[in-house]
Amino acid sequence: MKFEINKKTLSSLVDMAEKAVAKKTTNPILSGIKIEVAAKELNVYATDLQTGFHGKTTVEDSQEDCAFVVDHKNFSEILKSLPVVSIIINYDNGVLSLESATTAFKLPTMNAAEFPNVIPSVAGSTVDLEREKILHMIEKVIFCASRDSDPLSRNLNSVYWDFRSGGFLSLVATDSYRLGISEINLQQSSLVSSFLLSLRSVEELRNVLLSCRSKTFKLNFDGSRALFSFSEDSVELALNVIDSKFPNYMDILPKAFKTKMVLSTAEFSEILRRVSIASGSSEQVKMDVNEELLTLSANSADVGEGKDTITVEKEGNNILIAYSPRYLREAVEKIETTEFEFNISGETNPTVLKPFNDNNYMYIVMPIRLV
């Protein structure tokens, strides 16, 4: 079996499959991608049993059907290194060869029959989503998810998808120290359900959202997996939901605030960046709000001290409070309005950051306790 294919097309499919390929696995077949040619279509499959990827493209000159599994890393690396527009792929009796004008590679393959089924049949409810909007929402919360992949904390090593009545969708992520919520009104959506997707699954989804061209895509949820279909790109992604409980994030939203401020986004991120330099290994900045003055200060044994002051609009009490500079910076970076609200509910209670006059994003962060 032999066919010619555009290198870029194949390479982009293989790249999209990357995050779905199992990283640490005892089952070698999962570290490969499955390539299947049938009825003049080339299909690429990858899965780690949690995330499943399927993408396809057409091949004109294929004479017969075939299927094989090849190690993802080697295949992808060789593909990228080929200095040509199109390559000839030949699969014969378990051996895969990649050829161009002067180069020739031969790779061993694994049996495609052993590769698990990646894309299930469609069942349950389906909703239409806009690719760029969802990508934007993911970017605003994904950094809050816990990186700890320990089974005990897998409910935080995730992003929570909450489809509520009235067509609202919230994406929520937290590492128990801070929490990000981004929200959208889908206008018409019949889906009312919520599910947890692992951070790795959502990273793969982000990868695909970035690589695809489709303006919209379909999300189908059947109670145990979410299937994302990008019809214009001929790409599907099946993500198993995590069977674990996400904390009730509504509980941590403060009911009242001690100090409310409206800050200039550019001005605040500027002084935060500057003063953070002095925080060094102490990993903390102090914020002193005194009438209309906000002073950030930091000191550490390895750097020294630093402080800077800006004027702010303030309601409520003066306060001295401390934060992790990284937790503040990562949130302020996500704010797109020229001003944002900085609302403090106490020295040991959550602080809420949100864009000014915009209820579609909220970041809740716990302070550092000053001793």
């Binding site: 128990s176 390895d302 001793v371």
Partner: protein, 401 residues
């Protein structure tokens, strides 16, 4: 092939450093005299009452005139100086003064290594210029101590820890001395007896004297091979020290400290109950010491040595520093559970590292209502154990046995 070591100058080894050593004069006794002026001019001996057993921990300079010295038995001291005022040490009080001292040090440097309650090294290499040089820095520290604490200190300035310490000894009490470089070191110490160097005690002096080495200059002319053959591994250290070379860095105590304990089982074992009990005992002890020093730790390490002597270590760095035995146990037991268990275990050890003394705790959403309470509770439990012994209150870990 024989490896020969090239003799280097201190300056080849590291950039020029400025180290200050502060040593309080007769610290405990001076604090007592300061707080009770009627003791002024009297020989004050801190340690124990004359009829009790014990040793002298400090004595005033007046007592020293009678020949009383630190580490001498109280009985002996009383023989030499029956008219002395004998007192028990009030460690709490000295600790407080020591804290005040440290606050003064922090004005002049961030890099401070306390050697004991009354002694500390300051690395002022980066900061001395802010206070018009190392000499003025030392003078300011001395004056601050006198003005604010009404105590006197001997201060030494050196280009490393060794010379700073020797300099503070030089003009005791209330002294200030500066050893600027290796040449100056040699000029001053060349003709002194070898006993003045740190690490050379009575036994070593005798041993070296038997080879005809009496003076620092004799030491300087000995080869490294000779010194290591006589003194073993310490030979190299002394070879460098007699030339005024000392590469040790001033390390703030909480950065360098690590505390650990390991236990070898009488018989290699797979018995989880026994292993778990051992882990609990170790952690209770370590956590108590941690609380005693008012420290928190961030990294926990579990060590397992198997029957075939193969050893593994597993470490976990926590998001926030902890001083709670329960938290330490939970992480350690998780490390234990994920460790291989295909052979009996010979030894088990737990160590705590990455200490800090004023933890900034990143609060989490689960702390919204109860973090302060936990902290106060922990402190209270510790105080109770300290006063009435470990068994007065059941540790949360005892329920995990």
């Amino acid at each position: 092939m024989k490896k020969t070591k090239k003799v280097k100058n201190e300056s080849d080894l590291m950039p020029e450093r400025k180290i200050i050593h502060v040593d309080m004069d007769a610290f405990f006794a001076s604090v007592e005299i300061r707080d009770n002026p009627s003791l002024k001019g009297k020989p004050v001996i801190i340690g124990a009452k004359p009829q009790e057993r014990g040793v002298v921990s400090t004595c005033s300079y007046e007592a020293r005139k009678f020949g009383v010295k630190s580490a001498m038995s109280i009985k002996m001291a009383y023989k030499l100086c029956p008219q002395g005022v004998y007192m028990h040490p009030d460690i709490r009080k000295y600790e407080k003064v020591s804290e005040e001292l440290r606050k003064i040090f922090y004005r002049y440097s961030f890099k401070i290594e306390p050697a004991s309650l009354d002694e500390a090294y300051l690395d002022v290499s980066q900061t001395a210029d802010l206070f018009s040089g190392e000499y003025n820095t030392a003078l300011k520290i001395k004056n601050d101590i006198r003005n604010e604490l009404c105590l006197s200190a001997s201060v030494g300035i050196g280009y490393n820890m060794l010379t700073a310490k020797l300099a503070s000894e030089e003009k005791k009490p209330d002294g200030l001395f500066w050893i600027k470089n290796q040449t100056e070191f040699s000029n001053i110490f060349m003709n002194r007896s070898i006993g003045c160097l740190y690490g050379i005690g009575k036994v070593t002096v005798k041993l070296l004297e038997s080879y005809g080495i009496y003076l620092i200059s004799d030491l300087q002319s000995s080869t490294i091979e000779f010194l290591t053959s006589v003194l073993g591994s310490r030979g190299e250290e002394i070879y460098l020290a007699c030339r005024g070379i000392d590469e040790r860095e001033v390390t703030p105590s909480y950065q360098s400290k690590s505390e650990g304990r390991e236990i070898t089982f009488q018989y290699d074992t797979r018995d989880f109950k026994l292993i778990n009990d051992t882990i609990i005992n170790i952690i209770k002890e370590l956590a108590f010491n941690l609380n005693e020093q008012k420290l928190w730790c961030r990294t926990l390490t579990l060590k397992i040595k198997y029957k075939d002597m193969h050893t593994i270590t597993r470490a976990k760095t926590l998001d926030n520093p902890t001083n709670s035995s329960k938290e330490i146990y939970e992480s350690i037991i998780r490390l234990y559970n994920s460790a291989p268990k295909n052979q009996p275990i010979r030894l088990i050890g737990v160590s705590l590292n990455h200490f800090c003394d004023s933890p900034s705790i990143q609060l989490s959403f689960s702390d919204i209502n109860h973090s302060q309470k936990d902290e106060k509770f922990n402190r209270l439990v510790h105080e109770l154990k300290k006063k009435y012994g470990q068994e007065v209150i059941k540790d949360p870990l005892d329920f995990k046995r």
